[in-house]
């Protein structure tokens, strides 16, 4: 990788972090409604993965989607405007935090029914296979999602049809308040892929370089026609499941311990110790991200509400 690329990855991670940190008070002030699931702590996962994709590769994820949107190239302005429900939001204010997509950027959404987007991802991959493109679909989901039937149906089909799909389980240790081993008979989640004869491995999701390298290698394999692959990425969410989580299910010590493995801190250390970038350069990027978020909030706040007529648009294509 060239230096600019390293810096870009660092910038994306910091930008996601700042956008979400800014969202917290906006939520508390009531400017953001509904559910708000933060990605803080998991930034290395989607940043590493998506940075390894080619433009023809599709990305689809669950409701914890702000970071994924930004990694796919959606601007902080449009993410923030969607959070505020504005007409300028990436989904025109009709989707909210959990439902962001940008088809132009091959980002097929944020999906809020746990696991339901896995069959859809199989279909996206089928589309590429049918049309004989070399695109790969990257489908991200949580550890909790591996317990719903859709997961099993979709993995099975992907193997039966040899679909070009990379299944990515972001194992952040909990589905809401339920620890993996309290919900999954197989606590070593990648074994579930083994059950469908899908090649698989576990990667450290706090280290972006490891995620990136694994993704590059695996995407190339899938592109070469080797069929589906399953990545379990070990990670942790530093915040609650969503805003207002009482967090009775985990100890503060545990959170602290993981926070010491902050993916941004780890990457920062890597960049400086490998002499890829100086601390001053990285500080500059931190400042740039803070400025961009400030501008995004301004953009979102100044944006218009959707017009009442929008209520009845986009129900059907053919009227």
């Amino acid at each position: 990788m060239k230096k600019e690329e390293y810096l870009d990855l660092y910038y994306q991670m910091v930008l996601i972090r700042r956008v979400e940190e800014a969202a917290i008070p906006l939520y508390q002030e009531g400017k953001i409604g509904g559910f708000l699931h933060l990605y803080i702590g998991q930034e290395a996962v989607s940043t590493g993965l998506i940075s390894a994709r080619l433009p023809q590769d599709r990305v689809i994820t669950a409701y914890r989607d702000h970071g994924v949107a930004i990694n796919c190239g959606v601007s902080a302005d449009l993410v923030m405007a969607e959070l505020l429900g504005k007409a300028t939001g990436i989904s025109k204010g009709k989707g909210g935090s959990m439902h962001m997509a940008d088809v132009e950027k091959n980002f097929w959404g944020g999906h809020a029914i746990v696991g339901a987007h896995l069959p859809i991802a199989a279909g996206l991959a089928l589309g590429d296979q049918y049309q004989e493109t070399d695109g790969v679909t990257i489908c991200m989901f949580g550890d909790g999602a591996t317990n719903i039937g859709y997961f099993h149906e979709a993995l099975n089909l992907s193997k039966v049809w040899n679909l070009p799909v990379l299944w990515v389980c972001e194992n952040n240790q909990y589905g809401m308040g339920t620890a993996v081993d309290r919900a999954s008979a197989v606590s070593d989640i990648r074994q579930k892929a083994e059950g469908y004869c899908i090649p698989n491995e576990v990667v450290d999701g706090m280290n972006i370089m490891k995620v990136r390298q694994a993704a590059e290698r695996i995407l190339a394999e899938i592109r070469a026609g080797k069929g589906p692959y399953f990545l379990e990425i070990e990670t942790y969410r530093f915040q609650g499941h969503s805003m207002g989580d009482p967090e009775r299910y985990r100890k503060q010590d545990e959170v602290k311990q993981w926070e010491e493995n902050d993916p941004i801190g780890i990457f920062r250390h890597y960049l400086t110790s490998e002499k890829i970038a100086s601390a001053a350069e990285l500080d500059q990027l931190d400042q740039k991200a803070a400025d961009e978020v400030k501008a995004a909030i301004q953009f979102a706040e100044n944006s218009p509400e959707p017009a009442p007529e929008e209520l009845f648009t986009n129900i059907y294509v053919d009227n």
Binding site: S91, A101, G123, L124, Q131, A154
Partner: protein, 323 residues
Amino acid sequence: MTRITMREAISQAMWEEMERDPDVFILGEEVGVWGGSYAVTKGFYDHFGEKRVRDTPISESTIVGAAIGSALTGLRPIAEIMTINFAFSAMDHIVNQAAKLHYMFGGQLILPLVIRTVGGGGRQLGATHSQTPDAIFAHFPGLKVVAPGTPEDAKGLLKSAIRSNDPIFFIEHATLYQTRAEVPDGDYITPIGKSKVHREGRDVTIVTYSKMLETSSKAAEQLSGMGIEAEIIDLRTLRPLDMEPVLESFRKTNRAVIVEEGWRSYGVGAEVTARIYEEAFDYVDAPIQRVAQKEVPLPYNRTLEQLALPQVEDVVQAVKEVL
């Protein structure tokens, strides 16, 4: 015009559209090698090959989900759900995904998708395999629900559905597949979202669709023998519901009977009746009658099953009530 069965009409619609557009393909359980569990896709696998006629595992959610995903990439999948009773296993993908993705992402996602399935009672298959839950699917904005009652409409509506850019839930009726009628030759399409006057009459308006079109037509014949001329409106599409021909007819006859095979509670009859009262109250000369399935899980025993299903005599009786 050529006389063909409903099965042939549906089969021809898909065959012609697959010949016309290489992006159209079929996926579902037993659609390929077997030839379709109702033989609707017989011969397709040999002609179009396994890429375009895809046998799936028994995974209803994923049949619909994969159809959605591939539709998003620009393909035009026809997903077959073996019977409507199994569509409940795919309910999330039908009502939470297909019906909502276009709207929820501000119009960015486009799903040119057909879900074909077959419902209806009367074949002694017991309660889990005999349902007519059409109204449930028609409840959701974002989905279009089509249920033809004649071979001509089945062919024209299915071709429209395949060419449409919206998700269409297409409900066939298991006991109509052998129904034979004239169908126009060559390529034609029938617009979705348009009800139709199926039989003209001056005395009473019967509103119905699918299998009950046949039942209602038989009732109309009997009534005609008694000097009563019923006008029959075939809804054809349950969502979006086209009330215009219904209201026009009702303003003429001032009396209506709504006939559906599904249960009465919260059903098609409830919806159509309410709309007539809302939009043509001044024209009401008698309380509107509904004919529907008895409120029981459909039993296996032939006599009991027929007791539960709406019969020609029930329609005749209901018409007499409103006159």
